[in-house]
Amino acid sequence: MSESIDTPVGPPIPPARQELTLVERVSSQMGISPEDYMLPAEREIRMLSPEGTLLPAEQQGTGPGHEYPIPSDEVLLEAYERLMVGRRVNDQNTALVRQGRLAVYPSSHGQEACQVAAAMCLEDNDWLFPTYRDTVAVISKGVDPLDVMVSFRGDWHCGYDPKEHKTAAQATPLTTQLLHAVGAAHAAVLRGEDTVVLAMCGDGATSEGDFHEALNFAAVFRLPVVFFVQNNGYAISVPLARQSAAPTLAHKAVGYGMAGERVDGNDLVALMAALRRAVDLARTERIPLLVEAHTYRMQAHTNADDDTRYREREEVKEWAAKDPVLRMETYLRDKGVLDEAAAARVSEHCETVAASLRDAMNADVNPDPLEMFDHVFSEPTQQLREQRDWLAEELAAEAAEGRADQAAKEGAR
């Protein structure tokens, strides 16, 4: 029998339909292997040299599947202005701590390029989940600096409305906020919204269990979260080598089935390019990504820390030469984007922000002690009402005593 020969040859029978994994689908769209998609590029993405000159394309670390178009001059000028404001805010707040006007301020001096890019890559409806060191990012997202400083002045734990600004309260417990970011993204996906969530953490935080759980949840549920790790080299005093033996923190992404990339964290152009692409991919493909920025904390952990105990001055000096501010300024000036008039305008903006910070932080604000009982629950319990009354009586008695003392003093005079 030669039935097969008589049968006209048609198109090949397609194999049983196979579901591509998400990684296979995204990488095939880019024309690269899943491994090339998930693994970071061979070198960190960098557009500007430490001196502020644009690197030739072949030296930028980009390649197939790792393409990062440089943002427009207009966007970069805006980013520069925010960078300058961020630096001014950091330094003003550090001064206010020294003057005893702030309880504490963990400065991001040296990391401002990361701060600005983290906020600027997001749309208005996108969420930001910052840490205690990400004050500049919160301000850059549009929260009034004075509201952000409420917590560092010691009035209350958080001074802004997270829902109004789509910016979570700054998290102090390490890495817990990454899971909140994943939950916020999940909520948006369930409602069919195209929100992207950017979650910030540091190198030390990648050691926490919540880092693993957050990346895993985001990948399993396919949620549009960009995990942005600012690797500043130290978790208070402990260097990166004691946190991780991974080739880079960006390499951790592959274990979750997501793409990781590393960027020069003091190069605002590269950061803007890399984070904007990550946010775009997260939004269009509904996927999580990990971006590691290599930067440096130029100052001690906080005013209570002494960084001379754990790092060499020589190392700090080396990083000072890679400062993000001068680098960006040189690039924009050489390109003719930043002229004298624009520089003057930026400088004036910075001084206005600093002056308003000084005025507000030098004003004496006395939070109402009775408010302590108001926000434990949506309605105070019977027990909290009783405790509130107790404190109110104490305060009233103190006030009466103060008045009596005053009257006695005046009488004696």
Binding site: W127, F129, W156, H157, C158, G159, D161, P162, K163, A168, A169, P173, T176, L178, L179, H180, A181, V182, G183, A184, A185, H186, A187, A188, L190, R191, G209, D210, E213, A214, N216, F217, V220, E371, D374, H375, V376, F377, S378, T381, Q382, Q383
Partner: protein, 347 residues
């Protein structure tokens, strides 16, 4: 070959099935999913399987896997994502599979779930219900029988509910889900298969009519001589003890707290002032416990009405024992009766 043709009982002649505690919880979840589009149920094995205790049975099939779904096996992840979901407008109901398996999530509970409303000066509410199957008396192996309510009750910002009846299983879970505040909802494992003659539609109508007993204790049995203050898994034990005491001529009043936070001091004190004697019964180890707190509060508020020191029958201060030993650990009718006997009845 045999042909067995069993006739199924005709629907109209079937007695209405009694409602179990687990069934009441299942219905409360279902009705909440129907009542509010922002409710989502998630945790380990709650989807396809319907939960290891079947409390979420059928929910994923009925309401879709967007509304009831399994997560990776990670309790901090479950709790942390619930916080983020609630921050972004949802109303998560999460299951911690067993009491002692909820500990990895404790940082998320204590540092964020409990504090977010306060941290943000009242701007953010986190309406999250955390269901925890808890307590012993079911022959469970280690890490499956803890009475962990004290940890949560000690954390400001959390409501802590412990239903002890089938009716409360339904009503209080719906209250927990509707609450604007986070609620840790303890489900006594040994009561899951307890039953009551209740009509679910009546219960639903009662709840949806807006009648609420949120945060209030109830007098589960009237009495005149001594007050047993109890909750959750110890409620049936306390009621049995009251029954036995009545045979000996002692009239025991049983107060079911229902809610540990908020705590209904008024109902407790009204009962103790009437009887003059108080005994707290709870499964959890007694040291620094909810029972300790109750004794302290009764002493502070009812001292002049007391005819004898306020007493406790609780679990011993030991890690939860192995299944063959648990009967010696848990509050029993006999132990309760012994302590009642010892409460200075002579003139």
């Amino acid at each position: 070959m045999t042909t067995v043709t069993e006739t199924k009982p005709a629907a109209q002649s079937a007695k209405p099935a009694k409602l179990t505690f687990a069934g009441a919880l299942n219905a409360a979840l279902a009705h909440s999913l129907e009542a509010r589009q922002d409710v989502v149920v998630f945790g380990e094995d709650v989807g396809t399987l319907g939960g290891v205790f079947r409390v979420t049975d059928g929910l994923a099939a009925r309401y879709g896997t967007d509304r009831c779904f399994d997560t990776p096996l990670a309790e901090s992840g479950i709790m942390g994502t619930a916080v983020g979901m609630a921050l972004n407008g949802m109303r998560p109901v999460v299951e911690m599979q067993f009491d002692a398996f909820a500990y990895p999530a404790f940082e998320q509970v204590a540092s964020h779930l409990a504090k977010m409303h306060n941290r943000t000066r009242g701007r953010v509410e986190l309406p999250v219900a955390v269901r925890i199957p808890y307590g012993g008396g079911v022959g469970g192996v280690e890490h499956h029988c803890d009475s962990s309510e004290g940890y949560y009750a000690h954390t400001p910002g959390l409501k802590v509910y412990v239903p002890g009846t089938v009716e409360d299983a339904y009503l209080m879970l719906r209250e927990a889900i509707d609450s604007p505040d986070p609620v840790v909802f303890f489900e006594p494992k040994k009561l899951y298969w307890s039953k009551a003659d209740l009509d679910l539609e009546d219960l639903r109508a009662t709840y949806e009519s807006g009648e609420r007993r949120e945060g209030s204790a109830v007098v589960a049995r009237q009495g005149t001589d001594v007050t047993l203050v109890t909750y959750g898994p110890s409620l049936p034990t306390a009621l049995k003890a009251a029954e036995a005491a009545a045979e000996d001529g002692v009239s025991v009043e049983v107060v079911d707290l229902r809610s540990i936070v908020p705590l209904d001091d008024d109902t407790v004190c009204a009962s103790v002032e009437k009887t003059g004697r108080a005994l707290v019964v709870a499964e959890a180890q007694g040291f620094a416990s909810v029972a300790s707190e109750l004794v302290a509060r009764i002493q502070e508020r009812c001292f002049h009405s007391l005819a004898s020191p306020v007493r406790r029958v609780t679990g011993f201060d030991i890690p939860y024992p192995a299944p063959k030993l648990e009967e010696h650990h848990l509050p029993s009718v006999d132990r309760i009766l012994d302590v009642i006997d010892d409460m200075q009845w002579e003139d």
